[in-house]
């Protein structure tokens, strides 16, 4: 999975990557020249022969070096401003809007739509169509977080009471990892997410599937799982559309089994991990907001079976 500034997969990150290489080359040359100058000076100074250079003459050279510094800095400044402007030109209105609400320590993702029932909510995973710009509206529910997918774009803070918009365009299909970049407390380290860029057709299929309500459980064990979810504390925080679960303060689980990770990128979603997570969330991600709910092992297995069919 990619999480690197230097492996850009979208226009925004690509522009920054090219700026990086420009500044990197210039500063490397400057560093080498200055350190070489120092080495020459030390060698000469160690021999200690009188150079006969007047301070006036040396100051002239210092002035020239200073002037060259100004020119180089100006070039970098201009390059940087051009990059900023190019990035600004990618900010187009009239594109798909995705609202991302950052919580301690996970991401709630909502695809906007004029009709409320067409909106899609998911968590810790964004699907975007390749080659199309999307606008991500960033909000914070509690403290400051920062949304960052290095392969796609620079970061932007989600600040309570403020609204920020980040524009993204993935140019290559793939799975790109992102992570919260602003220290946000206890589990800042485990606040990751993935962005899945896929061809527009695939994306369309995915979002259509997400709009459906949750699968009805088929087997008795899955039905028992749903029953338990609705009886126990799960419904207080989680939503599973089409069931009685309507809590809004924890990840939406309607299509839980389509996601690749659990606990905001902490573990791959396998039945074993889901089981371990439900049995003791605090052991896996200490301090997270999910309480431990006492469940008999067979009840837990039923809940896992139910969750695993939520495609």
């Amino acid at each position: 999975m990619l999480q690197s500034v230097l492996e850009s997969a979208g226009i925004q990150a690509a522009r920054v990557e090219s700026e990086w290489w420009f500044i990197f080359r210039v500063t490397t040359v400057v560093t080498v020249i200055v350190l070489a100058g120092l080495a020459v000076a030390v060698r000469r100074g160690l021999r200690g022969r009188d150079t006969g250079a007047s301070e006036q003459r040396m100051l002239r050279y210092i002035g020239i070096a200073g002037a060259i510094t100004v020119v180089i800095l100006f070039a970098i400044l201009v390059r940087s401003i051009f990059t900023s402007r190019a990035l600004a030109s990618e900010r187009v209105s009239d594109v798909m809007q995705i609202e991302v609400m950052a919580y301690q320590w996970w991401w709630s993702v909502e695809y906007q739509h004029p009709e409320p029932e067409q909106r899609v909510r998911t968590a810790n995973e964004l699907h975007i169509p390749v080659g199309k710009t999307v606008a991500i509206k960033l909000l914070a529910s509690d403290v400051i977080h920062s949304f960052w997918v290095p392969s796609l774009a620079g970061k932007l803070d989600a600040i309570p009471g403020h609204e920020a918009v980040l524009w993204l365009r993935a140019d290559r299909a793939g799975v790109y990892r992102g992570q919260c970049a602003e220290y946000c407390g206890f589990q800042h380290a485990h606040m990751a997410f993935v962005v899945i860029a896929e061809p527009p057709d695939d994306f369309e299929r995915w979002i259509q599937a997400q709009r459906k309500t949750a699968n009805q459980p088929q087997s008795p064990i899955e039905q028992r799982g749903l029953q338990l979810v609705q009886q126990r504390a799960c419904v207080m925080c989680h939503t599973i559309r089409g069931t009685a679960a309507g809590g809004r303060i924890a990840p939406d689980l309607t299509h839980f089994a389509t996601r690749s990770t659990i606990a905001a990128g902490t573990l791959p979603r396998t039945p074993e991990h889901v089981n371990a997570w439900i049995s003791d969330p605090q052991a896996i991600k200490p301090g997270n907001r999910m309480p431990t709910i006492a469940l008999a092992p067979e009840d837990r297995a039923a809940i896992v079976a139910y969750l695993e069919q939520l495609r």
Binding site: T27, G66, W148
Partner: protein, 654 residues
């Protein structure tokens, strides 16, 4: 010198001997426990500052080592998230507030009077008060840490994370009050330094003859006075939000978390420069001495210091590029952030020219100065990178910035500091430090530093954020973190070798002469270590590098009383003698005031009433502190015209 001699008299050997005895007696350090608490000798206070700050540096280093162990392998269980978050907060807070600022303040308090040729520092009791506040603050922070109320929201304590809703308990209050302690100490140190430089310079030392370190400390002290109130505002508003229910930063009640960031960084960025600038003064000092020639471009270097100080106040927003501020504003701060590279560049060019045209001696302090070039230039280059908004948005809050800031601060400040400590060790102790151990320390630190921090550039580019207590395997971060841990081990050995060097040299080092490095500044004109009154006889300064260029028959200053602690106050620009002043005698009230202020500040974390009732005891002790002395009121020699010092143009013994 326009000053005309008042009396012509011959200074004989006998006169010098008897005056020296009288001076040693009247400036003698007080004895016993009370004497220890009443100390006003600037050298003792300065050394206390330096040693205390170095102890905190060691503690901060231990915390850093704990972090490197925790991150050496992915999903390590060594420190949990709770402890790790406290450890990184304590590390940053310690290094910024309890090490970097106080250690340079200690150097200033010790060396500024010696460098400007004064018998003591101005306002010595205020300096003593500053030390006790700094010590109290540092002890308070570490006691809190061990009582599990140590701060855990980063050295910046952003709201709302550190606010009342998300940081219950006392941890954030501890941080906010620590800021108050260190602020008081820093402001006091700045005032003392400025007054000493402006009013205590020896006749002949006009502003343009001042040593570079004095210039650097002067500029830094002004920066402290302008920068520190902003963070005091931030931390006090934070504690008000937390304790008395104000809503400065609560967006639900019309407050704003961004306001906090502006206040914090309006201090926070100049903070970097008030660590960096004194070290630039040290660099000029070391390079001049070990190139055996006057520094090239004195005026350019002073201008660079002043320019850096001004620009340093115009860059704070580059810490907030990711906060989504308007673009036209951020581009201004990009330009300012790049512009500040110009004075740094000029300084580096001046030093290279000095080395090029001098006779270089590769002593240990010079090696540290050369290490500065390699490390700081790399840090400066990454500084240019993070000044660019688009690039900063990628590397901000990642290990790239961790690498950048350590290259700038360790390369730019700690390397010159270690060089200077080695350089001034004979002046502190009267004994030479070991050259061989010094070489070992330098190479361990230099290699260890680069091994620790260079890989972090790549870590940041590979997407590793800062302030994470652990990370998952498979993201390409394992090898680089392991290398950093190995480098940290080398650095720890380097620090240990410095301690060993200090202990061994203190006991068995070769005895040091007055001027073992053949330097040009005044602290080397007196014995090692200096006597309590610093200098006698005192000669008028005739040039920028008095120990190299002054003729041996410079006039001797006479007429300052030797039977009590008397100093000569001079005028700001030209250092013409102005009047004599009875410098304060040892006095325990600064200590007692500091104790009561500490009680008030800690009490105010628990009840706002502590501010009301708690300010009464310090008020009473301040009255006692400022109670005038009968001798000064009735002293007939006090009026300025009578107090004109006499300059003796006769040649005393050289």
């Amino acid at each position: 010198m326009s000053l005309t001699p008042v009396v012509q008299l011959e200074v004989t050997e006998d006169h010098i001997a008897s005056e020296s005895r009288a001076l040693s007696h009247s400036w003698a350090q007080p004895r016993g426990v009370m004497g220890f608490l009443s100390e006003v000798d600037h050298k003792r206070i300065g050394l206390r500052f330096i040693i205390t700050a170095l102890v905190f540096f060691a503690l901060g280093g231990v915390l850093a080592a704990l972090m490197r162990i925790q991150l050496a392998v992915p999903e390590n269980q060594f420190l949990g998230p709770d402890l790790y978050n406290q450890v990184f907060t304590m590390h940053g807070t310690t290094m910024m507030f309890l090490f970097a600022v106080p250690v340079f303040e200690g150097l200033a308090i010790y060396f500024i009077p010696l460098m400007v040729g004064a018998r003591t520092i101005a306002l010595p009791r205020l300096a003593a008060f500053g030390y006790w506040m700094f010590l109290a603050g540092g002890v308070f922070l570490y006691v809190s840490f061990f009582l599990n109320i140590g701060p855990d929201n980063g050295w910046f304590s952003y709201v709302p994370l550190a606010g009342p809703e998300f940081a219950p308990g006392k941890r954030s209050d501890t941080w906010a009050q620590l800021i108050t302690f260190t602020e008081v100490a820093s402001l006091v140190g700045a005032i003392v330094t400025i007054v000493t430089i402006f009013k205590y310079r020896r006749p002949g030392m006009t502003l343009d003859r001042m040593p570079m370190f004095a210039w650097a400390e002067l500029v830094t002290s002004f920066m402290i006075i302008f920068a520190m109130p902003a963070v005091m505002l931030a931390s006090t508003s934070l504690i008000l939000d937390r304790l008395v229910g104000t809503h400065f930063f609560n967006q639900a009640q019309g407050g704003d978390p961004i306001l906090y960031q502006h206040l914090f960084w309006f201090f926070g960025h100049p903070e970097v420069y008030l660590i960096f600038l004194p070290a630039q003064g040290l660099m000029s000092t070391l390079i001049q001495t070990f190139s055996s020639r006057p520094i090239v471009g004195y005026v350019a270097l002073v201008t660079a210091l002043v320019a850096t100080a001004f620009m340093g106040f115009g860059l704070w927003v580059h810490h907030m590029f990711a906060a989504g501020l308007p673009e036209i504003g951020t581009s201004f701060f990009t330009a300012a952030s790049m512009m500040i590279a110009i004075p740094s560049g000029v300084q580096i060019f001046c030093w290279i020219a000095t080395i090029w045209s001098g006779k270089v001696r590769l002593e240990v302090p010079m090696l540290f100065a050369l290490g500065y070039f390699v490390i700081f230039i790399l840090g400066g280059m990454t500084g240019i990178m993070v000044a660019s908004v688009p690039l900063d948005l990628q590397v901000h809050d990642t290990y790239f910035v961790v690498a950048h800031l350590h290259y700038v601060l360790i390369g730019g400040a700690v390397f010159p500091l270690f060089g200077a400590l080695h350089y001034w060790f004979p002046k502190f102790t009267g004994r030479m430090p070991s050259h061989r151990l010094g070489l070992i320390s330098f190479w361990l630190l230099f290699i260890g530093f680069n091994l620790t921090f260079f890989p972090m550039h790549q870590l940041g580019l590979n997407g590793m954020p800062r302030r994470v207590y652990t990370y998952l395997p498979g993201l390409g971060w394992e090898t680089l973190n392991l290398a950093a841990a190995a480098g940290a081990a080398l650095m720890a050995l380097g620090a240990l070798s410095i301690v060993i060097n200090a202990i061994v040299s203190l006991r068995r080092g070769e005895m040091a002469s007055r001027n073992p490095w053949n330097a040009a500044t005044l602290e080397w004109s007196t014995s090692s270590p200096p006597p309590p009154h610093n200098f006698y006889p005192e000669r008028v300064i005739g040039s920028r590098d008095p120990l190299w260029d002054d003729p041996p028959d410079q006039p001797i200053i006479e007429g300052i009383r030797s039977d009590r602690r008397e100093v000569l106050v001079t005028r700001l620009l030209d250092a013409e003698p102005d009047h004599r002043y009875h410098s304060p005698e040892p006095n325990v009230w600064p200590f007692i005031t500091a104790v009561f202020t500490t009680i008030m500040l800690i009490g105010s974390m628990y009840t706002p009433w502590a501010v009301v009732w708690g300010s009464i005891p310090p008020f009473i002790t301040l009255i006692a502190w400022f109670w005038p002395r009968r001798t000064d009121i009735n002293d007939e020699s006090y009026p300025v015209e009578k107090a004109r010092p006499q300059l003796n143009e006769a040649t005393g013994p050289a």
